[in-house]
């Protein structure tokens, strides 16, 4: 994601931006899947999802510093802690308001988001912390002018691998099929004897675990983390979920890559004086998308509620 100044738009430059876009898109896709799974089942916009990403990043930092575990164990551990946090949040805050009007559930998730951010600020100090990843991840490759490090490769491979695993899960296992059924029609699924609480907990576990991976990757790429790090990526991942068609898992992945590529290419091709407007572009994109095709790229019309 290191961007050089505005150069002549050459093929190499474009390819480099493409690589950066895919790497950013992978992160958005991982977070967007969590949004879309929970929305699909509960019709809840979980604003706190981005902050679960922060919880994942800090857990990884804590595990690495206190237990000196190898990187893969740190990653797995942070996924576990984030998943626990997700389940806890669902149990404590979202279950009591389940079935309430959508404004109420949305405000609850806002409250959880602010709670996690400020608890983080209070307990972990508002100062950013260094986030170190093993040296072998920072080895830089140079292929005919294209530069990327092992971190970038890991992000893309991990994201695609996890998404494939998730696809297998929702198509091949009973729990996964029950989850898709609940997403299609919650009442009918309940009448078929599906335990909704179990499905919701599963959605939160998977979504939070994927968000933790995204958090560790973001931390590794920027080299530092802070208690508010999850907010903007979380919002953008939600935008990605809407672009892809909210409620649709494949749509979330597509939306993540579309948004990541669009953001990087737009900023890469526009003059540097406009690059500060990056976040504004994302939301202008969102508003346009909502007006032109509110159900998203892969969304079906019946699910569209705009």
């Amino acid at each position: 994601m290191q961007r050089k100044g505005f150069e002549r738009v050459s093929g190499t430059y474009l390819l480099q931006q493409l690589i950066n876009g895919i790497s950013l898109g992978s992160i958005y896709a991982l977070v967007a899947i969590g949004y879309t799974m929970v929305y699909g089942i509960l019709r809840l916009i979980n604003f706190a999802h981005g902050d679960i990403l922060m919880v994942g990043a800090y857990s990884a930092l804590g595990l690495a510093m206190s237990l000196h575990l190898p990187f893969w164990a740190v990653l797995a551990g942070s996924m576990l802690i984030a998943a626990l946090t997700g389940v806890l949040v669902e149990r404590a805050a979202f279950r009591p308001v389940r079935g309430a009007p959508e404004e109420v559930t949305m405000i609850t998730s806002l409250a959880v988001s602010i709670f996690l951010e400020n608890l983080g600020t209070m307990v972990l100090s508002p100062q950013p912390r260094k986030f170190l990843v093993p040296d072998y991840l920072l080895v830089i490759h140079n292929w005919g002018g294209l530069t990327f490090n092992n971190m970038t490769i890991l992000i893309v491979v991990l994201a695609v691998g996890l998404m494939l695993a998730l696809t297998l899960f929702v198509t091949r296992t009973n729990l996964g099929i029950a989850m898709r059924a609940s997403s299609e029609n919650l009442q009918a699924a309940q009448l078929m004897g599906i335990n909704i609480n179990r499905i919701v907990a599963t959605a939160f576990i998977i979504g939070s675990g994927l968000a933790a991976v995204a958090g560790v990757m973001l931390g590794g790429q920027y080299g530092r983390i802070d208690p508010l790090m999850g907010f903007v990526p979380g919002l953008k991942a939600f935008v990605a979920a809407v672009i892809g068609g909210i409620g649709n898992i494949a749509g979330a992945a597509v939306g993540g890559y579309v948004l990541g590529l669009a953001e990087v290419l737009l900023v890469g091709l526009l003059p540097p004086s406009l690059s500060g407007f990056r976040d504004a572009f994302v939301f202008i994109f969102l508003i346009l998308m909502l007006l032109i095709r509110p159900v998203g790229i892969l969304g079906s019309v019946e699910r569209g509620r705009a």
Partner: protein, 337 residues
Amino acid sequence: MLNRREKTCTLVALALVIGLLALANSFLNQYYLRLINVMGINIILVVSLNFTNGLTGVFSLGHPGFMAVGAYTAALLTIPLRQKAFILPDLPAWLAQAHASFPVALLAAGTVAAICAFLIGYPVLRLRGHYLALATLGFLVIVQVVVTNVSQITRGARGINGLPPETNIWWVYGITIALIYLSWRLVHSAYGRGMMAIRGDDLAAEALGVNLVKHRMLAFTLGAFFAGVGGALWGHLITVVSPNAFSFAQAFILVVMSVIGGMGSITGSIIGAVVMTLIPEALRGLEVGTTIAGFHIPPLYGLSQVIYSVALIIVLAVRPQGIVGLREFSMRRWLKN
């Protein structure tokens, strides 16, 4: 409408409020005066947010965006010309020469915010529920990004300081009372009934001939007008305007006040604004670190936000309608007892 006895009582109550404000103004120290002003501005913001989020059921998170528009508009008009030339040398000529008195600047702040609301409302208000909330949040992000990046007009992230401290208790509460009166008249007008019908069920309201877009637009622009005025009052109270004062956290605080008081009720909006201004202020000592009974409590940054959020989660789970729900204070009921 009010009968004669109720009118007298209302006037007496109004006189009492004005008397109390005059007393406060001449006897309280700077800290308490400022707190009272902040409280009044919060009432303006929450009552104006209530036009959309409460009465019409259009859940907007963009209120701080309109506050920012109003605050910057007013700031650019009230700062003395010579000072403006010094701190903002790259202003376009027409802005560099523009100057206005405080009341005119307030009016301009509201008007520019309302125009913004009209422009973005036109596409955005066709959306519903979640999507509308998200689009207004997007508007807030866009305003913040623009304010941070157009530094020849706004001085970017540093913000503009040295605004004349024009905001006083009379401006704040004069506008507060005017807004409450307007709000009350609106609720009892055909427009207000239409808005509340939309809140209840927009399809049914539309079928009965309520023009959705028109009513939503009215609620949105009216709310934005007073958000702009509130932002301008805020800027001239603390004499600084900077982009991070109009953040997502601010949107959240306003929503908390509105929900805790009772979304949809003017009385509830006022109660929510007062309660949620005073409680975190009382606990602010903890945020900077203090010593209670020999125990040293380290500074707890973010504590007030934690309290806001926990209070909100509990209220939503236990009493989602807030303190007063949809009810209003009624002179008639009060006089009977």
